[in-house]
């Protein structure tokens, strides 16, 4: 499909293109690019290049986010990721491949771990999810959260927030909204529709 000429963006300089490729294409276990990697590949003006990348991403309702690796010292550097600038409407959420009940369980898990000072036994988390979704589903969901990086499970079976939670979720906002929510809120029609989403990542 040919785009109208006025909407075609000017060809980005080589460094901007290279930075976008480094940030958008997954090359390792995690998406994004580490700061030292970008410095090495982009040279001295990497800050200016990243600012340009952020502007370009902004046109697509995306933004560049620098995230510290959880568990590592602050001077261990950051990872640059492209994330959605705004948020998704419930009707768009099915695009992510998560079912409504999976998202609800994830939301509850994040708030629960935060309420318990950042670490909870896996069984407690499974009990919380199992209360609403059943035992079998709670186990598979917790596994899915760990696999996708939203949760982290240490050797002693304690669950903590994973790197993806820090990168993607505004945790303070989440707490504020959970506390402010009314317990009697009903099920939205647009959310209800997502129960039948065929794409279920976990």
């Amino acid at each position: 499909m040919r785009m109208p000429e006025e909407t075609i963006a000017p060809t980005p300089p080589d460094k901007v293109r290279r930075a976008l490729q480094l940030i958008l294409f997954r090359r390792g276990r995690r998406p994004g690019a580490r700061d030292w990697e970008l410095r090495n590949r982009l040279g001295k003006d990497h800050d200016a290049v990243l600012a340009r990348v952020d502007t370009l991403l902004g046109d697509l309702d995306l933004k560049l986010k620098a995230v510290s690796e959880p568990g590592l010292a602050e001077d261990a550097g950051v990872r640059y990721l492209a994330i959605l600038r705004g948020t998704m409407a419930p009707s768009e959420a099915r695009l992510t491949g998560w079912r409504i009940d999976s998202l609800a369980a994830l939301s509850a898990s994040l708030a629960f771990v935060l309420a318990k000072q950042g670490r909870v036994p896996r069984e407690d988390l499974e009990d919380l999810i199992g209360e609403k979704l059943g035992r079998w589903r709670s186990e598979t969901l917790v596994d899915a959260f760990v696999r996708s990086g939203y949760m982290f499970e240490d050797d002693s079976g304690l669950m903590a927030l994973g790197w993806r939670s820090y990168a993607e979720v505004e945790l303070k906002d989440l707490i504020a909204k959970v506390l402010a929510a009314k317990g009697t809120e009903g099920v939205d029609d647009d959310l209800e529709g997502l129960h039948d989403a065929a794409l279920d990542r976990p």
């Binding site: 294409f25 994004g32 001077d75 998704m88 409407a89 708030a111 000072q117 979720v169 945790l171």
Partner: protein, 252 residues
């Protein structure tokens, strides 16, 4: 004086509760550390055996870890904008899934990434595939083509590989210090960078020792780093780590 049997029972109870707090099975303030310490002090005089003293030490150790958990909890509550964690946990349990999902969507900015095979990548992979000998051929490869067996490496071999310097590390540092003194104050990259990348790495390695040992100072930050030679070694009272990335520029 309280009985030894009673004391052992009490200390074991405290220990069990401390472990439960550490494993997040009990709330952090379920043990009153001050009171528990008083109790251990009361029983202490009655301990004669190594086992009892060891139990006492384990209780003290567990109480110190409980204090850590309690301190972390207070710090954490402060970051929650005074939100009560228990209230938050109760709220999570009470909210219907749809409300939780909506809240999550309002605070979620998912990571965007691409997975795509490019024509260039396919071409490269195809060329590699075509030139790769079959598994059977590789298995029956001529034994003579296999790498030679391991042998002892001599200092001469290491020197030839550039791992061990013939001139000695300290004379290398001395020469570099003399060179730096001749400059006085110089831009770090001007001093370190050479045409050969290996030489650049070698000089950066040497400079790191000069700075750590107090023969030079490194001022500035980011790309603006200045090396200043010292006329005499200065014994540093404190140190600070600085990571400097070296790499070959992709355009080079």
């Amino acid at each position: 004086m309280p009985s030894v049997v009673e004391g052992r029972k009490k200390l074991r109870e405290i220990l069990t509760r401390c472990h439960a707090i550490e494993e997040r099975r009990l709330p952090p303030f379920d043990v009153d550390v001050r009171e528990a310490l008083h109790e251990t002090t009361d029983y202490f005089e009655g301990w004669d055996s190594v086992e009892d003293l060891s139990l006492d030490a384990r209780v003290l150790n567990a109480l110190s870890r409980v204090l850590q958990v309690q301190a972390a909890r207070i710090e954490y509550e402060a970051t929650l904008f005074l939100a009560d964690p228990q209230m938050l946990a109760d709220k999570v349990a009470r909210l219907p899934p749809a409300a939780l999902a909506r809240i999550f969507l309002e605070t979620w900015h998912p990571v965007v990434e691409l997975e795509q095979v490019t024509p260039e990548g396919i071409e490269l992979a195809l060329r590699y595939w075509e030139s790769m000998p079959s598994w059977a051929d590789r298995r029956h490869e001529d034994p003579e083509l296999r790498p030679p067996p391991p042998k002892r490496v001599t200092d001469e071999d290491l020197a030839a590989l550039g791992i061990l310097s013939r001139e000695g590390f300290f004379s290398f540092l001395g020469a570099m210090w003399d060179e730096l003194k001749a400059h006085g104050k110089v831009d770090y990259w001007r001093f370190v960078r050479r045409t050969e990348f290996s030489e650049t790495v070698r000089r950066a390695y040497g400079v790191s020792f000069l700075v750590s040992y107090g023969y030079a100072d490194l001022d500035g930050s980011g790309d603006d780093l200045q090396l200043v030679a010292k006329l005499e070694r200065e014994h540093r009272k404190s140190s600070q780590s600085l990571a400097i990335a070296l790499g070959v520029h992709a355009d080079a």
